[in-house]
């Protein structure tokens, strides 16, 4: 049931990114308060642009905007397709990734690298 809920949420986000213009409300009402206060990007800065680029099949632009956002958009797309296939009767399910300390450290390092990339890249 939660897989279906996550797929619905992901589909709504991807459709919004495809339909809504970036420079008009409501998306233009999402400037980062963290950046406004500190002049530094937050972890999710650029995700709106990354999603918009990803749904228009511009992966390089999506990665430039925010690698984490581009990965999240791709993960949403894969999850939506997979959920649709499961609803159609697909039985195969990938084995869950064991969350070992090494995996956790790797994920934290990737988050840090993503943020360092955003800081070094600068700009909106």
């Amino acid at each position: 049931m939660h897989a279906l809920g996550l797929a619905a949420a992901g589909l709504a986000v991807l459709l919004s990114a495809a339909v809504l213009p970036l420079d008009a409300p409501p998306l233009s009402l999402f400037p980062c308060p963290f950046r406004a206060a500190t002049l530094l990007p937050c972890l999710s800065c650029g995700c709106t642009h990354a999603f918009a680029a990803a749904v228009r099949l511009h992966p390089i632009d999506a990665l430039r905007s925010n690698p984490l956002g581009a990965f999240a958009a791709a993960a949403f797309a894969v999850h939506i397709v997979w959920t649709a296939l499961r609803l159609c009767g697909l039985r195969w399910v990938p084995a869950p990734l064991p969350v070992t300390p090494r995996v956790r450290i790797g994920a934290a390092a990737l988050l840090g690298l993503n943020w360092a990339f955003l800081v070094l890249r600068g700009g909106p």
Partner: protein, 274 residues
């Protein structure tokens, strides 16, 4: 009932007993008729995780026997004043009920807030936003918001009200996903996404305060964050400090990284100064 797969150790809910495939790894397993009676030969390959006595279900999950209004009222009261009891009794196989509770609570409060703002507080809100937009680092943001609020037509207000449940659904699942990611990164996601979702869903109860103009929103949001921590502690059965860390990690990560960068920048500036 909840069943744990002996192959991949993941827990899933099922309505039927007998031979079936694990939805996580696809391997076959057998669910016995009664959790207490495990047929010989199956015992070694099957670990049933029947609900402990404490997990009888929250009042909202037992609304069929309590009545909808009483169940809702009791759930809200417990969430606000006895959260440990509420989260301790939440059943992880009642995801749809938990989703319904959160959708009903937040959507109703948001729609009331939007109507109150549109019909009674519009002028005051615009004046407030204009003042906020006068100066400060967020000035441009407040100016844009004031402009958007000024241009709101009755049709777009009605559209926003209609879209509110969808927005709430998306926000709830994104919040649960981010919280679960933080919990997993801390190695505390002991009972899966369903436990995180239950915590996030019932933690929405204080968002009823959104309907109160002014201080309702900030109080409701802070209360919700605190309740999410209490919920994670109960549903995943983890210590309070790690539950708090999991809830606050996304915020703390940003602040700590900025502080570290600020300290490094300050040290570099001091070294560079004569």
């Amino acid at each position: 009932m909840l069943v744990r797969c002996p192959s991949c150790r993941s827990t899933f809910s099922t309505e039927r007993t007998g031979p079936q495939d694990c939805p996580a790894c696809g391997k076959p397993l057998v669910v016995p008729d009664s959790p207490g009676v495990v047929p010989a030969g199956v015992q070694s390959s099957l670990q049933s995780t029947a609900q402990p006595q404490a997990e009888q279900g929250t009042p909202w999950e037992r609304r069929a026997e309590l009545g909808t209004w009483r169940a809702y009222r009791d759930t809200v009261v417990q969430a606000l004043f006895e959260p440990a009891r509420l989260f301790g009794s939440a059943r992880l196989d009642r995801g749809p009920a938990q989703l319904g509770f959160a959708l009903l609570t937040v959507s109703a409060a948001s729609i009331v807030a939007q109507l109150v703002d549109y019909f009674f507080l519009r002028n005051w809100t615009q004046m407030f936003l204009r003042r906020l937009g006068g100066s400060g680092p967020m000035a441009s943001y407040w100016q844009k918001l004031a402009e958007a609020a000024r241009e709101t037509s009755p049709r777009s207000a009605a559209l926003w009200a209609l879209l509110t449940p969808l927005v709430v659904l998306v926000a709830l699942y994104l919040n649960a996903a981010v919280t679960h990611l933080a919990t997993a990164l801390l190695g505390q996601a002991k009972r899966g996404f369903a436990a995180t979702f239950a915590a996030c869903a019932y933690a929405c109860a204080p968002l009823l305060l959104l309907a109160i103009p002014g201080c309702g929103s900030p109080v409701g949001v802070v209360w919700t964050v605190v309740l999410t921590g209490v919920g994670l502690q109960q549903t995943h059965r983890i210590p309070g400090r790690t539950a708090a860390a999991a809830v606050l990690a996304p915020y703390a990560l940003i602040c700590c990284a900025t502080c570290a960068l600020g300290v490094l920048g300050g040290m570099a500036a001091l070294r560079g100064s004569p």
